[in-house]
Symmetry: C2
Subunit: 372 residues, 2 copies
Amino acid sequence: MKLIIEKNILMEGLNAVSRALSTRNIIPVLNCIKFDLQNNGLYLTATDNDITIQYYIDKKDIKSIEETGCSIIYGKTLLEVIRKLPETDILIENFENNEVSFKTNNSIYNFNCYMVEDYPNISLEEGKNPISISSNKFKEIINKTTFACSLQESNPVLTGVNVKIQGDLFECIATDSYRISKINLKLDEMYIENINIVIPAKNINEFAKIINSDSKMEIHVFSNKVIFKLDNIIFQSSLLNGNYPQLENIFPNEFEYKIKVNLKDFYNTLDRASLLTGSSKKYIIDAEIKDNYLKLKASSAEMGKVEEKISIENLTNNNIYISFSSKYVLESLKMFSSEDIYILLNSGVKPFVLKEVDNDNFIQLVFPIQTN
Amino acid sequence: MKLIIEKNILMEGLNAVSRALSTRNIIPVLNCIKFDLQNNGLYLTATDNDITIQYYIDKKDIKSIEETGCSIIYGKTLLEVIRKLPETDILIENFENNEVSFKTNNSIYNFNCYMVEDYPNISLEEGKNPISISSNKFKEIINKTTFACSLQESNPVLTGVNVKIQGDLFECIATDSYRISKINLKLDEMYIENINIVIPAKNINEFAKIINSDSKMEIHVFSNKVIFKLDNIIFQSSLLNGNYPQLENIFPNEFEYKIKVNLKDFYNTLDRASLLTGSSKKYIIDAEIKDNYLKLKASSAEMGKVEEKISIENLTNNNIYISFSSKYVLESLKMFSSEDIYILLNSGVKPFVLKEVDNDNFIQLVFPIQTN
């Protein structure tokens, strides 16, 4: 392998694949980045055996390709060295003693390499009927659902997001059994095959971090993995096995209570009041909707107590008491961006719904806490 | 105690005293802030028994003082509640059941209080001959020395900075026995009494963080403590016992080798090269001054090796080899702000000096590493 490449172009590729890089993997070669220089360009690959990222730098973006070849380089140090180099051309060359050198005007870095044969052979072939979607929309869907996934490995399937495609309807849902976040999107095309997969939240979150421009991306679904293709990046993730719970019927269609509240007001007040929910980790808030006010109360035996009130529009003119965990409601509210939101309830013991005033495609449901 | 005060004015005081606030002190009352409302204003105090901070809010900055009195309030929660309140007037009132309430238009926070009698009685009296100094200068002196203090409790006196005053000469020195940082300042006045104290670095750093404007401050020295007075803040710290080492004679007066190098170039190159010093935690860099270049080499059996070179002005035209820890040199370089710096040496086995081109009052000395 011998090539000359600009630092910034190489760095962009290294940054993208670094999200699949293990740093303390007990299999040393998984701490590495694979450089594979072919006649048409340079392929950078990193994998932790759960996610794999490949970044392709076309030959037109490489100053010169003098000899094709392959090197497996310890990723963390390489990334830091290249990041700290000034903007410059780098001559990269590997040698028979299994060293690879990165040379600029004033510096030579020689890295000991791992054996190419030891690097896992990962197939990144394409599927037959990829789904086409806007990358920014997909990023938004990921961000607005994964936060609701479970962190507990006791029910592994809940640590992932459930992605379903039926015709041109794309639905993404996540829950940790205390709250649910659900978002729908209409795709530009109809797809014949129904899709119903569960993608690990931590993997799909890594992919979301790579998305930084709006372009069309492709989703290729396989029986045991999913591949996202975006510009010159291929991102592969494993899937979670197991049946994802049917959550559709939990969302009520009608509500006896409906209030409209300013999002910022509600968030700030709830955030403040929850400081006095004590150290129980349950963050219990007692709420009362009364006339045109929402009152929030919290207390802790050791610290003290609080009462807050917020103006609301009480659209059904009914009064109700309900208790909930401020943690879940605050996390939900963070996902909204409209000025006002609706809070929709049926009783003090049934789950309630939060949604933006003008958006029926993004719905959050929170289970109340029984305090008696 | 009963008063009305603007949120922002109270917050500024709480922020200042919070730096002395313990959060997990086993003595619960040390996790508290003392509110002491007198006819002339409100005194806020926090202490961890090692440092004490008192902040005074004059009656002219208080909307109304209705009843003097005292309350001891758990600090962490109070700070978060007040920080999260909107800009508003707060009515603060304590009750006979040992609760104190913070009331605004839409909210009431009631905090359980601690007993006033349990709060330590700390005397913050003034000394006889305070030293007057610019707070910004003092902050600079703190920042440019404390980083060189030892973190090891094995030699406690080295965990502090040595502050000496003789006549109008103010000198501050810090070392962890691997490097020394020394800064001098000429005071506006002569002081008759010589001062030689050691202030714990972690304490004086907390004080430096409070300084955010340039004004005159006072240093009051006692046998076992020091008090800093700045605007409406009194900051008290314990002193370290023990004899601080005499370091003056370690600084050479003459040098056989003198080079001038661009600060940014040197920092960036050394920072990059030190990535290949391996995992030994010694960060050994082999340097060679040869003609008009400084060459830096590092290697690690596992990772590989590096060679970097930087243009210099070789003012003595001598060539020399020296090995040092990049960690200490990088930390020193961070403290400089001039475009170029001098590196001054006598041999490869003697300590070398780093200083800014136009500043003889701030000198850093680093011990080399013997590699053979």
